[in-house]
Symmetry: C2
Subunit: 496 residues, 2 copies
């Protein structure tokens, strides 16, 4: 049952979505086609539009409408839209305008200092503005409120319902199960991967990427792929979901898996219900559920042997000089080669979680006030030595590598690991539900998998909280077990 008030809310949220998607287009254009002299005005245009969307949403009238609607008798979807919107609204109005303005000022300073620090390769330049931003973040946690841990307040901004207690449990298992497993793998003989770094001409890589996107079900009538410095997925409604990629002619993996990864994100967005445009039930459930979709396609499918049984012969035809002497088995092992590295974005699918764990431990301690900002670099380097056994060669390749902190994004990193763990748990269930799933993938057909994801995950949008969704889909709460089962099975075959 709908109502007059509900209609008012819907119209308002859809108008805000129109504004936010226009903002997103300004951003997409900035990363793809914008001429360089436009940079300064573009920043101003982005800031005007995003403030506008924010201020329309946080108007008092929104709160009044939501309070009325909470008392109305609505159907499940409408009720979920009201509930999620109310949660968002309550979070946003907890921060006074002056506080938000200060956040924006402090992160702008921190961002510029981070850029400067990277240029000079010196964390000291970033230290003071970062320290101020951290104090501000601790205030933010107080304003938002929490029951157990101040970090919970920030985690909840990125991943509704996520807490330190959940993450402690998961990362304890990472430390106790994944860390020793990887150490054992590393003691085995590694395969030669040099052929992945021969010359793979851009245009052929590009065409191969487009083919792969089409193969996994990405709809080019409701999206497009372009080139940008860093690959990303962005959407302006589920009928226009765009991906970008980058191509390194001397690194085959770079384009291929970023293309499948972004394709996974895009399949999720293209699968959100269009009749829920601009409403929670038409939006992605959370960052980690989003990441579960990209990781599932990138790793479970795209780094799987069955996927390449179908695609590898085609690939060999495209790059005969590089690949005709490389067997499928060799190729498969090489693309799953693991090696510790100090750069998160270049990590393999196992070491990746070590990187996230380090950031998680640091952020948690920061929020507890246990680490002085001036000690962060040493703490960072020590953790890399401890978990990955690597010496961080410089600040640029160490504590300055990620942009997140300079934006004040504390609480974001854990969603990356959660995404992979959700992916494994979802994929385990999909395999149980779909007869011969791996056989289908081996024959180049992942449509039943996509259909399963559409029905079980995409169709719900934000109707459920991430942990509720996980329980509903898989029957149990998020656990590291499916991920460990997946890696053990896979890598027992790879590292012999």
């Amino acid at each position: 049952m709908t109502s007059k008030n509900y209609k008012l809310l819907e119209v308002k949220l859809q108008k805000i979505a129109d504004i936010n998607y226009a903002t997103a287009l300004l951003h997409w254009d900035k990363e793809t086609y914008m001429p360089k002299k436009a940079a300064a005005l573009r920043s101003q245009q982005l800031s005007t539009l995003s403030e506008l969307g924010h201020s329309l949403f946080t108007e008092k009238s929104t709160g009044i409408l939501l309070n009325k609607l909470e008392k109305e008798n609505l159907n499940e979807t409408l009720e979920a839209n009201v509930k999620r919107t109310k949660e968002d609204y309550d979070k946003m109005i907890k921060l006074p305008g002056s506080f938000v303005a200060e956040s924006s000022m402090l992160s702008s300073k921190a961002f510029h200092a981070w850029i400067e620090a990277r240029k000079k390769n010196d964390f000291k330049i970033f230290e003071d503005p970062l320290d101020k931003l951290i104090s501000h973040k601790r205030k933010e946690a107080d304003l938002l409120g929490f029951s157990d841990h101040p970090y919970d307040a920030l985690l909840d901004l990125y991943e509704p319902g996520l807490t330190v207690s959940t993450l402690n449990r998961l990362f304890k298992n990472v430390r106790e199960q994944l860390v020793p497993f990887v150490a054992e793998l590393r003691s085995k003989k590694q395969i030669d991967t040099n052929f992945l770094f021969l010359k793979y001409p851009s245009d052929k890589q590009w065409n191969f990427g487009i083919d792969i996107l089409k193969n996994i079900g990405y709809d080019f009538d409701a999206g497009r792929q372009d080139i940008s410095e860093h690959p990303f997925t962005i959407n302006f409604g589920s009928t226009d979901v765009r991906v970008t990629t980058r191509i390194d002619e001397y690194d085959f993996s770079n384009m291929t898996w970023s293309c499948i990864h972004e394709g996974g994100h895009a399949l999720y967005e293209q699968g959100l219900p269009i009749d829920q445009y601009g409403l929670p039930c038409g939006s992605a459930a959370s960052l980690s559920i989003h990441e579960s979709q990209s990781r599932l396609w990138e790793n479970m499918v795209g780094r799987g042997k069955n996927f390449w049984k179908f695609h590898y012969p085609k690939l060999q035809k495209i790059f005969p000089k590089n690949l005709s002497n490389i067997s499928l088995d060799h190729f498969y092992k090489a693309i799953n080669h693991i090696e510790p590295n100090y750069i998160r974005t270049e990590a393999d699918e196992l070491h990746y979680h070590f990187h996230v764990m380090i950031r998680y431990e640091i952020e948690k301690s920061i929020m507890e006030g246990l680490i002085k900002t001036s000690d962060l670099r040493d703490y960072w380097n020590a953790r890399y030595k401890e978990y990955l056994n690597v010496d961080v060669p410089s600040d640029l390749e160490g504590i300055l590598q990620d942009i997140h902190w300079s934006h004040g994004s504390f609480g974001y990193f854990p969603t990356y690991s959660l995404g992979s763990f959700y992916a494994a748990q979802f994929y385990e269930k999909a395999k149980a539900d779909i007869t011969n799933l791996e056989k289908q993938i081996e024959s180049g057909n992942s449509s039943e998998l996509l259909h399963w994801l559409r029905n079980n995950i995409h169709a719900h949008g934000r109707k459920y909280l991430p942990n509720e969704l996980c329980k509903q889909v898989t029957g149990s709460e998020l656990s590291l077990d499916p991920f460990m089962d997946y890696v053990k099975l896979k890598y027992s075959e790879i590292a012999i």
Copy 2:
């Protein structure tokens, strides 16, 4: 001298500009890169954003601020910004919200009927919604107010200060001078133009277009060229001014002069003062002054013999098969070949004004209530027979050819002709001011011309009304004489 109130106005207008430029980007993207399934949501996003810009501007607080500022003592630029903004504001608030909503509803209906009528090639389908739109437009003229003629009220919306009295004078001269001149030209022998319709491969045309744009001074760091169905220029501030073109492999002229034409528009926008972003003095003076810039580059420069003395040898090298046997003189005559045609957008630079004159006469009569909508088709076809001596073969190629009326744009067409007349008058003055201008162009150097346009026209933005600007730049008001002098000199050499 600036003031607190002025600052408030500036901030508001620049915020509105940010919104309007975001709207413009939604539009640019729609015409260039948007995937097809995005169409419906994009229309909604465009409508939300443009309403938002409009409603912010027409807020009562804008009027109050402007009233205060009119009494303040400001410098010339600031005063002009206040004056122009007040003129815009006063026009906009004359139309009640309900009237604007009805306009939008009626033109939406008319637009869809126009599309349908074009499909069926039958004006009758368009007739009724057009009739309603016309009645509405006559009401609009009453609401806006006028002293001499109802059409003046609509003309003023597109070209501030333009009146029927001015247009009657100009088009009387067109009828008395241009029409017989063209008739005389047509009686002479015409040159063979077939070589222009041989195959000119897309990529080579594209590269040639880019070279021409660079040559005339278009800054690719503050703009870019893309492909769209209909060429256009669009900007998001003077640091981001984009052009589009289309390429027909079997029509060399199509891309070449649309590229120079849009380049002329773009040079104007790139030359507007960036410190006046979002303010009248940072905006183009009017539609016809805009068109004067595109026509000056397209016709006076780009169809001139001196321009091709420099570029033609390069062109011959690019397309040796098509052009090595065609002399410069032959090429020059062919690109200036004139021939009556019933399609406005395909007209040569002389017949073009016959098309505009027909539309002007019809619109004027419509506003006087002298033609019944049901008689429009016959009236149209009779005028084409009378002025161009062509039989209009169908509605599609006749009265249904232009989109303007379906949008309710009555009063727009005359600005096209005015643009050419202004162009001739400006160019005559530029030649008088710049020693050896034609010699410079012959050597591929139009930078002094651009500099002259920047100083005399671009730098002022909307500081002056179009007729004031014309007087200031050329010393006299707009007249057909410079245009007639230009065509007589040029075509006396071409048609012998």
